[in-house]
């Protein structure tokens, strides 16, 4: 009898929740974003999900992670950031992480996930759009006037998905 093929292309990945506290992996992965988020909302509303590979030694850092802010309003969550470890990029882990994350949030009763688009992160936007996120409402750049001078405020756009 031939021995079975030894392959598990996706490794042994599993989504875990870890405390969203500064320091350790969390800071290594999200640095500034984490600090900003914690400055804005209480830690009780922050959730940090990581994708770990059980085949790697327990002390290894997670391969990817996501920072989420929970409501209000109730049943709504805001995706703050997504990150894939540099060494593990190109394996489609962002998609896997996002899929797991949405399932997890859905099981938690979350019905809507939003993401605030910042001008530069086109990669995240592409990912989110392919996962069914849509632009919440086409919100053209608002022109504000202060003391007569016209200032072009940056466009604020939200990607949103119903669960």
């Amino acid at each position: 009898m031939s021995s079975p093929p030894e392959s598990q292309p996706s490794g042994m990945l599993l989504l875990r929740e870890i405390p969203a506290l500064p320091g350790g992996w969390a800071s290594a992965m999200f640095g500034m974003v984490l600090a900003e988020t914690l400055a804005e909302v209480s830690v009780a509303r922050c959730r940090l999900y990581v994708l770990v590979d059980l085949v790697r030694p327990a002390a290894d850092p997670p391969v990817a992670g996501a920072l989420v802010e929970m409501g209000p309003p109730a049943r709504e969550a805001r995706l703050r950031a997504l990150s894939v470890d540099r060494a593990h990029r190109g394996r489609g882990l962002d998609r896997r992480l996002l899929g797991d994350l949405l399932t997890e949030l859905r099981a938690d009763g979350v019905q809507r996930v939003r993401y605030r688009v910042v001008g530069t992160d086109t990669a995240v936007c592409t990912l989110l759009r392919s996962a069914g996120f849509v632009l919440e409402d086409e919100n053209p750049a608002v022109t504000c006037r202060y003391d007569g001078a016209a200032i072009e405020a940056p466009a604020v756009a939200w990607l949103m998905r119903e669960l």
Partner: protein, 1188 residues
């Protein structure tokens, strides 16, 4: 059908009693009347599907197919699971996450709402409608009206109003709408009875607005108008109806409606009472689309559906490419565990023969044996003279519409060139052409009507054919049937209870392809009389045993355990096993060790791949934990919370890969094959890492209480030894070994020491020292199990390692392991291990003075080592010195050990008395371990036997038998059994002697000690010899005795040659071997045997044998610790004396033997001695002289 309410369900807390409402948008109200927030639309859709199926399981695949048809199954399963989890929280807000769900349960193959029918408003409505109809029929119109008023008030709008366009809701909405129309018309009927004619007329008008094609509503309207004294309007209504039917459908009003018109014209008095019912049901045109084949569509040749579920080819059909091996084919031809099914099928066939047919739906998972059951049904039918017709549905869209029916018609003769003759064949051929699109349906362009006419034509043709002679129609895999075929089956099924035709249709309970058409068809069929469902489930262990002709219960259990009783898995496993060796040679161990068959692995892998990826990850971790999965360990090893873990594992439970262990929160893999497939799919490195995590999880979960988990920890860390867990692996294996030793689980002790050694990291700084220590322990443990060869390998290596490191203490420890308390010399007969003797002497030379206990151990061991050589006397002196040293030191453990050394080292005839005395002294020592006690007793017992103290011997034997059960060492067990063999020989209980000898040989073979074959030959030879069966063992004896290690067999072989009548051969054997008698433990027996030979053929010298045996003539003959025993030695002395012509002395000896035998009650020996005495008295020459 919905289950009854009185099924023993515990009455739920009022607040927990939920009310599910679908007569309007879906709504769930809790016990306090508060509607629950059911979440998103998809989530409500999941709930709706569950309500529609309640209280039955909604298969997971079906749910996914309905709601996420365009998503890959693995992600859809995850999404579905998330909704299920959330719904659970909504439906049971007070349930703790760890307690099992009571409302929304997981049950293979999916999920179910465990509620009573009364908890669904639609069911209450249906029940109310039924009650109202009964009340009205009994003349209680007021009650009927009240009941319906209440029931109709529960309608909150369109049923399932949130899902107007979803196909899954369609048929339910149609049925509920229909029920509402019925309720309205029954209520109007009640008003008529109550004289409220005008109201009834208005209601009939409303009903016709809803559905103008129902003649029942028209009849209601006409009667209401007539009774309201509006005859003209009543007649006008009839005309409107006639015009409508004629214009739109080209039909005339039914005879009943025409009679009603006539009655109105006649002002018939019967119009005052109840009027014979005009069907209120819908025009016979069901909703939905029709798939008629395109004209001239080509019908392909029968696709080969293969044999995906059955265990082999059906009779009369060529099998797949390679035929199964004959033994297997024989096993496959039997059908086991399906007796109740067959009984019921036989009853249904009998009914069909009597004219009452129907539909039998046989469901069961893939590989469960549905096809085999269908085969058996076919056979039953043929025996009953019923025509059997097969048809099969094919997966995918490769077959034309009506494919299964085309096959049926073809088989029944519709495929012939017919159409010209007027017989059945012609009619069948006609409908066949219509099904295949050869002929259009005559007379109509309306598709619905066309379909009705087509269905009707096929049904009539088949019914007529069955009326001629009964038919069994076997339709396989209808979960793959096209919608048109299913509709035809439903249509036909409605009539079958009065047609001698039985349809047996097989299907899978959780078909991945389950479509709305199938669910609808099954729903409709089940409501028809004559339809019955039966499920085919996995075989039990007993049934597996039966399947294999009661081959071997252990084997059957092993097979059942690995396959979960799935006949397909079982068949695959057997196929693989029997490709290696014939089934009768397959053992339970083979079953456990064989790799998972490819076919099974593919099936399982495919099922696993449909699960969410995180679930797959978790299942792989679970597979590393084992067949039984401790959820706490899994949770800790995966590092996720319990609630999330449960959520992730749910789909695996739903599709039957895992089962929840009753009452607990743990899991178990449904088949061992599932676990093995998952485990086998992991790379070596992954396995090691996960084992390490699992080991750590167990450690962390039970700090300070690891004793009961040492073997498990040793296993997991052992598997992780190469990924940094070597130290723990060795530690836990060692602790497990020590623990097992305390529990006398000797084989496990060996295993754990071996594990500890295997895990040892060779790069550790102190690894050589650790290795030496472990090797010594392993050697000791193997010695205990009787594996002297394995022990020696380990100890030799230990001595080498310790010598290299100059560690004398370790050398001594290793070298003296064999000097521990044992029953038997560990060397093969006649062997001296020169290297070990040299090591022991070297250590004795270098031992510093003062270390007397060490010296005693070395001397005692050396004494035993020297036993089989020229230096036996010297060894005896060493052993005696060891005893003296131990006495001086006063260490009774050491004394027990050295006494034992002496008893073995001094095992010669002259030392009998002293050995007996010292064995007895051993028994007086304090804290004597059980094993040592048995050994000392066994060393004492031969002396008792030799002196004829049978009662004492029996008492000792009984005690030893009892003790050996506690000690569980094969070596000791063997020797105790041997002691019973000798005793049975004395009593001439030959059968028992042989049985015991066989048993002892079996246990002896578990050791690698010298002698099982040798002793067995002696026992069986003596038994045959005593019973006068000569020559049977000659060849074996001569063969075995040729080996020097078995030289104690030589006189027996010669004796056998003589008894076989071949004296020249006996002489040649003596020429070849000589006739030495060693003065070792075999002396008395060997001397006795040679003496018997000498008395017959004069060789070896009878005088020499006389000199050897006369001094012990009063003793009984005993070999070793009693594995063979015979009567008084006087008898052989008598024979020798006769041989040398001293007849008088011979007679005296024979008489003395007889007297001893008589006194001991050894009747067969007494008779032999008496015969011998008589022969001597009569002066008959001894046999040898006679022939000379």
């Amino acid at each position: 059908m919905l289950a009854n309410d009185d099924d023993g369900r515990a009455p739920a807390d009022a607040a927990d009693r939920l009310d599910f409402r679908i007569l309007g948008p879906i709504e769930v109200v809790d016990g306090t009347g508060t509607p629950l927030d059911l979440g998103s639309r998809k989530q409500r859709a999941v709930l709706t599907l569950l309500v529609l199926n309640a209280p039955h399981v909604a298969p997971l695949d079906q749910l996914i197919d309905r709601l996420w048809a365009d998503e890959p199954p693995s992600s859809a399963t995850g999404t579905l699971q998330a909704y299920v989890s959330q719904l659970r929280r909504i439906l049971e807000p007070r349930r703790s996450p760890r307690s099992p769900a009571r409302v929304l349960r997981t049950r293979e193959p999916g999920y179910l709402l465990d509620i009573s029918p009364d908890q669904v408003d639609a069911n209450r409505f249906a029940r109310a409608l039924e009650a109202a109809q009964t009340a009205l029929a009994a003349g209680r119109a007021r009650e009927a009206e009240r009941t319906l008023d209440e029931a109709l008030a529960t309608w909150r709008g369109q049923p399932l109003a949130d899902f107007p366009d979803d196909s899954f809701a369609g048929s339910t909405v149609a049925r509920l709408t229909e029920a509402r129309l019925s309720a309205l018309s029954v209520r109007a009927e009640a008003w008529l009875t109550l004289g409220r004619h005008a109201e009834a007329a208005v209601e009939a008008g409303h009903l016709l607005d809803l559905d103008p094609y129902r003649e029942g509503f028209w009849a209601l309207l006409m009667r209401a108008l007539y009774r309201d004294r509006r005859q003209a309007e009543a007649l006008a209504a009839y005309q409107r109806c006639r015009t409508l039917l004629s214009d739109e459908l080209g039909l005339d009003p039914s005879p009943e409606l025409r009679r009603l018109e006539q009655a109105i014209l006649d002002q018939d008095e019967s119009l005052i009472g109840a009027w014979p019912a005009v069907a209120t049901g819908p025009w016979p045109v069901p909703e939905g689309e029709t798939r008629l084949p395109a004209r001239g569509a080509h019908v392909p040749a029968a696709p080969d559906p293969g044999d995906p579920a059955g265990l082999g080819p059906r009779p009369g059909e060529a099998g797949p490419a390679q035929a199964p091996p004959p033994v297997l084919a024989e096993y496959r031809s039997r059908l086991v565990g399906r007796e109740p099914h067959l009984r019921r099928i036989r009853e249904r066939l009998d009914d069909a023969v009597r004219g009452a047919g129907g539909v039998l739906l046989v469901s069961g998972e893939s590989g469960i044996g549905k096809t085999r059951l269908a085969d058996a049904a076919a056979q039953l039918a043929e025996e009953a003279g019923v025509t059997v017709v097969w048809s099969r549905c094919v997966e995918g869209s490769g077959a034309p519409p009506f494919w299964p029916w085309i096959q049926v018609l073809d088989a029944l003769g519709g495929g012939g060139p017919g159409g010209t003759d007027a017989g059945d064949g012609g009619e069948l051929a006609g409908v066949m052409r219509r099904l295949t699109g050869g002929d259009g349906a005559p007379g109509t362009d309306d598709p619905d009507t066309a379909r009705f006419l087509l269905h009707d034509a096929v049904s009539r043709a088949l019914s007529r054919r069955a009326d001629a002679s009964p038919v069994l129609l076997l339709m396989e895999d209808i979960h793959w049937a096209d919608a048109a075929s299913l509709k035809l089956l439903t249509f036909f099924g409605a009539d079958l209870h009065r047609v001698p035709l039985l349809v047996l249709a097989t299907l899978r309970p959780d078909p991945a392809e389950a479509r709305q058409a199938l669910t609808d068809a099954l729903g409709d069929l089940t409501r028809q009389r004559g339809t019955e469902r039966m499920s085919v489930t996995a075989l039990t262990a007993e049934q597996v045993a039966d399947y294999l002709h009661d081959l071997d219960p252990a084997l059957a259990h092993a097979l059942h355990d690995r396959t979960g009783g799935n006949p397909f898995f079982l068949g695959e496993l057997l196929r693989l096993l029997t490709s290696v060796s014939p089934l009768h040679r397959v053992t339970a161990a083979d079953v456990a060790s064989i790799a998972v068959p490819d076919g099974v692995r593919d099936v399982i892998t495919q099922r696993v791949s449909r699960l969410p990826e995180d679930t797959q990850t978790l299942l792989r971790v679970a597979a590393v934990i084992g067949r039984d999965v401790d959820a706490d360990v899994l949770e800790a090893a995966a590092g996720i919370g319990g609630a999330r873990m449960m959520m992730l594992l749910e789909p695996a439970v739903a599709i039957g890969l895992l089962t929840e262990v009753d009452g607990g929160w743990d899991y178990r893999f449904s088949h061992a094959l599932v676990r093995e497939t998952l485990y086998g799919g992991l790379s070596r490195l992954s396995r090691a890492q996960i084992h390490g995590r699992v080991g750590e999880a167990i450690e962390n979960l039970h700090p300070g209480n690891l004793e009961s988990r040492l073997p498990v920890l040793a296993h997991h860390f052992g598997m992780a030894a190469r990924v940094g867990q070597a130290a723990k692996a060795t530690l836990y294996a060692s602790r497990a070994a020590i623990q097992a030793a305390a529990r006398l689980a000797h084989d496990e002790v060996v295993m754990f020491w071996e594990q500890a050694l295997a895990a040892l990291d060779p790069h550790e700084p102190e690894s050589a020292a650790s290795r030496t220590t472990l090797l010594i322990e392993l050697g000791r443990a193997r010695r205990v199990t009787g594996d002297v060869i394995g022990a020696r390998v380990a100890l030799d290596e230990a001595v080498t390692l310790a010598s290299q490191r100059g560690d004398d203490a370790a050398v001594i420890e290793a070298a003296t392991v064999f000097g521990g308390v044992t029953l038997w010399n560990w060397r093969s007969y006649g062997v001296v291990d020169a290297r070990m003797v040299a090591v022991l002497e070297d250590q004795l030379d270098r031992l510093p003075p003062g270390n007397d206990s060490c010296r005693a151990e070395l001397l005692g061991t050396l004494g035993v080592e020297l036993y089989y050589g020229d230096r036996r006397a010297e060894g005896q002196r060493h052993a005696a010195e060891a005893v003296a040293l131990a006495r001086r030191i006063g260490d009774h453990r050491l004394l027990a050990r050295t006494l034992n050394n002496f008893v073995i080292a001094a095992w010669t005839p002259e030392n009998e008395e002293e050995r007996y005395r010292l064995a007895e002294e051993t028994l007086t020592l304090p804290d004597l371990p059980r094993a040592a006690e048995i050994i000392a007793r066994l060393h004492r017992m031969p002396t008792l036997l030799r002196s004829g103290m049978l009662a004492d011997y029996d008492a000792e034997l009984a005690r030893c038998l009892r003790l050996s059960g506690e000690v569980r060492m094969p070596e000791i067990e063997t020797q105790v059994t041997y002691a019973a063999v000798g005793r049975a020989m004395l009593d001439a209980r030959w059968e028992e002697a042989e049985r015991l000898a066989t048993a002892a040989t079996e246990t002896y073979r578990h050791t690698s000690l010298w002698g099982p074959d040798c002793i067995y030959l002696i026992c069986t030879f003596l038994s045959s010899w005593a019973q006068g069966r000569h020559g049977v063992h000659l060849a074996e004896l001569v063969d075995a005795a040729a080996d020097d290690a078995n030289r104690l067999l030589r006189p027996t072989a010669v004796l056998a040659a003589i008894e076989a009548g071949d004296e020249p051969f006996a002489h040649r054997l003596i020429d070849r071997w000589g006739a030495t008698v060693e003065r070792d433990w075999t002396w008395q027996f060997v001397a006795w045997q040679w003496a018997l030979v000498a008395a017959r053929i004069g060789r070896p010298d009878p005088h020499r044998m006389l000199a050897e045996l006369t001094p012990v003539a009063d003793e009984l003959v005993v070999l070793g610790t009693g594995c063979a025993a015979w009567g008084s030695t006087n008898e052989v002395v008598a024979r020798l004396l006769r041989r040398v012509g001293r007849a008088e002395e011979a007679l005296a000896r024979a008489e003395r033997a007889r007297e001893i035998h008589r006194r001991l009650g050894l009747w067969h020996l007494e008779r032999r001695s008496a015969d011998l005495a008589a022969e001597i008295r009569d002066g008959e020459p001894s046999p040898g002289l006679r022939s000379a």
